[in-house]
C-alpha cells in the first residue's frame, strides 16, 4: 500500500461560520490502495491524534463536493465512486479543536473492498453493519497506516 | 413447453407508489416476495426520473435489482404525448423518433418488449421495426377495449367518434408480424370485461344516491344492449346523468371481444395485461378468488388451449372505486394482486 495516505499540510481547525467557535479539526486522506472503490465500502476510520482515539460518531467524511456525512450515511452511497486520486477530508468534532503546532496523526481506513466473495466474513460484514474499527485492520485493502506529523499553523 | 407465466405491472400499485411508499426497488422485491414470481412490467414515466434522459445510475441500479431478486424485465409501457411541443402536434416522424428512443431505453434496462399505445398509427410502427430489431426489443401494440379482435365496422366505436385509433389494428399487426418477429400485440383483458364488481356497485350507490336506479341497471344490464338500457334509464330516472362516468361504468360493459377470439392472435401475443377490478372470494371454492367482471376461467382455458407461452402481468385498476372512502377502507393493492395471482395459479399459470 502507498506510503502517504494522510496528506501533508492538510491539518487545520474548523470554525463554525455561525458561532465563530472552533468545533473540531480536519485533515485529508487518500485511499491506501492502487485503485478507487465505491464510497459505500468505506466502513469507518480509526483516527488517533497524539495518542487520543476518536470514536466513529465524532467523525464526518467529506468527498465529491457533498456535505459532511457520517459513516452510516456512506453506506447508502452504493453508486458513488471514491476516485482513486481524490483526497477525502476527515472532519473530527472536538470543541476547541487542536493546539497550534505539531501533532502525530494516524488515520487507518476500514474498507470493505475485497477480491470477490469471502463466504462467512461477507455475511458478517453485512449483518454487523461494520466491524471493530482498529489500528491494525486485517484484510485486502486495509493495513495499519503510517503515522504522520502534521502541523496546525 | 409452453407455459403461462405471471408478472405485475407497476400500474397495479399506483396508490402505494403515489404515496411514496414503494420505490422501484420495493416494487421489484414485492413481486418476488408476495407472489414468488419474476415478471416485471414498468410504466416508464412512473419511475424513470428525468425521462427521456435516463441516467446510467438508474440503468445500473434497475438491472442490479432485477438480478438481485432473479427477476425478468418483461414489458415496458411507453406513451405518446403528442402535444409535448405545444406549438404543434407531433408529426408521425416525431412520434417514431420518440418510440425509437423508448425502444433504446427499454433495451438498456433489459426489457424484452415495449408496449405502445393503441392509438399509434401503423405508419409509426413501420418506421420503428428496424430499430426494434437492432435493439432486440419486441414492439407490441396494446389492444384495449373498445378495439375489436374480429373487426366489425358496425361496432367501430372510434370511427363513430372521428378518432384516429384504427380499429383494424389487429389485422394490420397480423400482416406486419408475418414480416418481423419483433412486432406483435399486447392484449388487455379488459377486452372481455362484462360484469360489475361489488366495489363499483357500492361506489355507484354512494355517487348516484338513488338505489332504485342502481338496482334497475343491475337487473337489466345483462338483458338489454347497453345503448337501450342507457336510454331507458334516462327516461325512467330523468334526474340521473347517464353520461356521468360512474353511471356509464355501471351500464356499459367494456367488452369488445370474446375470449375465443384470442385464438386469432395467439401466435403474435408478446405479453398480456391482466386487467382486473376486484378479486372476491369464490363461494364455491373457499380460499379461492375470482373477478366478477372479467371471465378469467374462460380466458385462461383459451390461452392454455392455444399454447400461449409468455407472461400475463397484473394490471389492477379498481382503485378509482374506493378513492372517495377513508384510507382504511380503500383497496389494499398488494392484497388484490396477491389474490389475482392465487387465481392465475389455480387456473394453470406457473
Amino acid at each position: 500500500m502507498p506510503k502517504k495516505t494522510t496528506v501533508p499540510g492538510s491539518l487545520k481547525n474548523v470554525t463554525c461560520p455561525e458561532t465563530g467557535k472552533i468545533i473540531g479539526f480536519q485533515f485529508d486522506v487518500r485511499l491506501p490502495r492502487y485503485r478507487g472503490n465505491m464510497v459505500s465500502l468505506i466502513n469507518g476510520y480509526y483516527v488517533n491524534v497524539d495518542g487520543v482515539e476518536y470514536p466513529q460518531d465524532k467523525i464526518r467524511f467529506i468527498l465529491n463536493g457533498k456535505a459532511p456525512r457520517t459513516f452510516e450515511e456512506l453506506k447508502s452511497a452504493v453508486w458513488e465512486h471514491w476516485n482513486y486520486r481524490d483526497a477525502a477530508t476527515l472532519l473530527v468534532l472536538k470543541d476547541g479543536g487542536l493546539e497550534k503546532g505539531d501533532h502525530v496523526v494516524n488515520a487507518t481506513v476500514s474498507n470493505f473492498e475485497q477480491y470477490g466473495y469471502m463466504p462467512g466474513r461477507d455475511e458478517k460484514r453485512v449483518a454487523d453493519g461494520g466491524e471493530p474499527i482498529v489500528a491494525n485492520p486485517v484484510g485486502v485493502g486495509q493495513s495499519a497506516a503510517q503515522s504522520f506529523v502534521l502541523t496546525i499553523e | 413447453m409452453a407455459t403461462i407465466k405471471r408478472g405485475v405491472s407497476s400500474y397495479s400499485y399506483q396508490n402505494v407508489i403515489f404515496d411514496r411508499k414503494m420505490g422501484y426497488r420495493d416494487f421489484i422485491r414485492t413481486i418476488r416476495e408476495d407472489l414468488n414470481t419474476d415478471g416485471v412490467e414498468l410504466i416508464d414515466e412512473t419511475f424513470i426520473n428525468h425521462y427521456p434522459f435516463i441516467t446510467d445510475e438508474f440503468v445500473y441500479d434497475w438491472r442490479n435489482t432485477i438480478a438481485r431478486y432473479n427477476m425478468k424485465s418483461v414489458t415496458m409501457d411507453v406513451y405518446l404525448d403528442v402535444l409535448q411541443f405545444r406549438d404543434h402536434v407531433m408529426t408521425f416522424e416525431e412520434g417514431a423518433e420518440r418510440l425509437k428512443r423508448d425502444l433504446h431505453i427499454a433495451a438498456r434496462l433489459g426489457f424484452e418488449n415495449v408496449r405502445c399505445l393503441r392509438p399509434i398509427p401503423a405508419e409509426i410502427i413501420d418506421m420503428c421495426v428496424d430499430t426494434a430489431e437492432k435493439e432486440g426489443v419486441r414492439l407490441g401494440q396494446e389492444i384495449h377495449s373498445p378495439v375489436q379482435i374480429r373487426y366489425d365496422p358496425e361496432k367501430d366505436w372510434n370511427k363513430a367518434r372521428g378518432n384516429l385509433v384504427d380499429e383494424r389494428l389487429v389485422e394490420h399487426m397480423l400482416q406486419r408480424a408475418e414480416k418481423s418477429p419483433f412486432v406483435g400485440l399486447v392484449p388487455d383483458m379488459g377486452l372481455f370485461h362484462t360484469g360489475v364488481t361489488p366495489a363499483l356497485v357500492a361506489a355507484a350507490r354512494r355517487t348516484i344516491q338513488n338505489d332504485d336506479c342502481v338496482d334497475y341497471i343491475l337487473e337489466n344490464r345483462n338483458k338489454l344492449p347497453w345503448q337501450d338500457l342507457k336510454r331507458l334509464v334516462a327516461e325512467k330516472f330523468p334526474t340521473i346523468d347517464t353520461d356521468a362516468q360512474i353511471t356509464l361504468s355501471l351500464i356499459r360493459p367494456q367488452a369488445s371481444a370474446k375470449p375465443e377470439e384470442l385464438m386469432d392472435i395467439m401466435h403474435i401475443i408478446l405479453s398480456i395485461h391482466g386487467k382486473f377490478y376486484e378479486m372476491v372470494e369464490d363461494p364455491t371454492k373457499p380460499g379461492g378468488y375470482y373477478d366478477p367482471s372479467i371471465p378469467y376461467d374462460e380466458i385462461m382455458k383459451i390461452l392454455l388451449e392455444g399454447g400461449y407461452d409468455g407472461y400475463i402481468n397484473s394490471e389492477f385498476e379498481g382503485q378509482g372505486h374506493t378513492n372517495d372512502l377513508p384510507d382504511d377502507q380503500m383497496f389494499d393493492e398488494l392484497e388484490q394482486v396477491r389474490r389475482q395471482h392465487k387465481m392465475l395459479v389455480a387456473l394453470g399459470a406457473v
Binding site: 465512486h81 486520486r85 470493505f112 470477490g116 466473495y117 461477507d122 | -
Partner: protein
C-alpha cells in the same frame, strides 16, 4: 506467433498515487521507456466516477492509445461483493457487474477483461453472450496459491474463495460451451521459487534479528511453510515470526512445464515480479531472483503462446518504509524486466 510485451498500470502504483503519472503519462511511458505497445489497465485507478465512464475519458483514452500507436490489451476488473452493504451481491448481480465492465472495456478498445480468480465460473458463463456481442474476452486470473495441475497430493492453501480445481472448471466450461471469449490470465507468481533481497532487507528493517533472516533465507523452500513457521517460532519467538509471516508463507503453486496444459487458453499474462537484479553472469543483463522466467518463456514458446505478457511490479510494499529517494524506482524496474523479456525472445 510471438510473445508481445506490455505493462499493467499496477507496476507504477506509487507514481500514480503521488499524482506524478496520469493515464496519458502511463501510456506514453510504456512507449518511450520500453518501445512496446501493450497496455493493461486497472479500471478503478484511472476511470473516475466508475462505473459511469465519461465520454471525455473514453475519447481521451482512445486518442492517447492512437497517438502513441499502442494497444489496449487487458482491463483488470474487480468484484466488490459488499457494494450494496445491506446484502452480499448474488451471482446474478455479479454477472450484471461483469457485463457492465465488458461494455466499459469495449468502449475503451480493450481486447480482454481480467476478472478475479475468485469470480465464480457460472458468473463468467452467464456473461458470455455479452462478451461475444462486444467481442471482449473474459480472462480469469490464475494466481498463487491456485495450482495449475491438481493431483492427490495437492495441498489446498487458498486464502480466497475458489475451488482448488478452478483451472479445470474454467477449461471444462470453455470446452463445453465452445466459446472463444473466455480464457485464463495466469499470474507468474504461480512459479515463484524464492524470496528476493528486498524482502530480507525489509525483514531486517522491521526489527527481525539477522540470524532469523539468515535462517529463513537458507531454509525457505526446503520444507513445507507450515513446518518452517513452527520451527522458526520455537527458535526466534512469535513476535519475529509475525513480522515475517508474509515471507514465510509466500510461495508459488505450479511448475513452469505445467504452462503447456493451459497455453491454448491463455488470454494474456501477468508478468509478476518483485525486483530485477543484475545478472552476474551476463553484465548489463537482469534477472528475477524469485522466478525462473527463462523456464517460463521456454514453455510459453513450446506451447505456442501468441499474446502479451504485461509487467506487474509488486515490490513497492517492501520499501515503502524507506525515505523517498531509497524506494524502488518503478520505471527502472520495469525497464529491466523488459530487457530480460527481450533477451528471452519476446518481440
Amino acid at each position: 506467433m510471438a510473445i508481445h510485451r506490455g505493462v499493467s498500470s499496477y507496476s507504477y502504483q506509487n507514481l500514480i498515487f503521488d499524482n506524478k503519472m496520469n493515464h496519458r503519462d502511463f501510456i506514453r511511458t510504456v512507449r518511450e521507456d520500453l518501445d512496446t505497445d501493450g497496455i493493461e489497465l486497472i479500471d478503478e485507478t484511472f476511470i473516475d466516477d466508475y462505473p459511469f465512464l465519461s465520454e471525455e475519458f473514453e475519447y481521451d483514452w482512445k486518442d492517447t492509445i492512437a497517438r502513441y500507436n499502442m494497444k489496449s490489451v487487458t482491463m483488470d476488473i474487480y468484484l466488490d461483493v459488499l457494494q450494496f452493504r445491506d446484502h452480499v451481491m448474488n451471482h446474478e448481480e455479479a454477472t450484471e457487474r461483469l457485463k457492465r465492465d465488458i461494455i466499459i472495456a469495449s468502449r475503451l478498445g480493450f481486447e480482454n477483461v481480467r476478472c478475479l480468480a475468485a469470480t465464480p465460473v457460472d458468473v463468467i458463463e452467464a456473461a458470455l453472450p455479452t462478451a461475444e456481442k462486444y467481442n471482449v474476452r473474459i480472462g480469469q486470473e490464475i494466481h498463487a496459491p491456485l495450482p495449475l495441475v491438481v493431483n492427490p497430493d495437492t495441498v489446498n492453501r487458498l486464502h480466497f474463495t475458489a475451488p482448488i480445481d478452478e483451472v479445470d472448471r474454467v477449461i471444462e466450461m470453455i470446452e463445453r460451451t465452445g466459446t472463444k471469449h473466455a480464457g485464463l490470465v495466469p499470474d507468474m507468481g504461480l512459479f515463484q521459487h524464492s524470496l528476493t533481497p528486498i524482502m530480507f532487507e525489509f525483514a531486517l528493517r522491521s526489527g527481525c534479528p539477522a540470524e532469523s533472516v539468515a535462517f529463513l533465507k537458507e531454509k525457505k523452500g526446503t520444507m513445507p511453510d507450515a513446518d518452517l513457521k513452527v520451527i522458526m517460532s520455537e527458535k526466534f519467538g512469535e513476535e519475529t515470526v509475525a513480522k515475517m509471516a508474509r515471507l514465510i508463507t509466500t510461495q508459488g503453486s505450479a511448475k513452469p512445464e505445467e504452462l503447456l496444459k493451459v497455453c491454448p487458453y491463455i488470454v494474456s499474462i501477468h508478468g509478476k515480479f518483485y525486483e530485477m537484479v543484475e545478472d552476474p553472469t551476463a553484465p548489463g543483463g537482469y534477472y528475477d531472483p524469485s522466478t525462473n522466467y527463462a523456464e517460463i518463456f521456454k514453455y510459453l514458446k513450446e506451447g505456442g503462446f501468441d499474446g502479451y505478457i504485461d509487467s506487474e511490479l509488486e515490490g513497492q510494499g517492501y520499501c515503502n518504509d524507506l525515505p523517498d529517494d531509497q524506494m524502488q524506482d518503478e520505471r527502472e524496474q520495469v525497464r529491466r524486466q523488459h530487457e530480460m523479456f527481450k533477451a528471452l525472445g519476446a518481440v
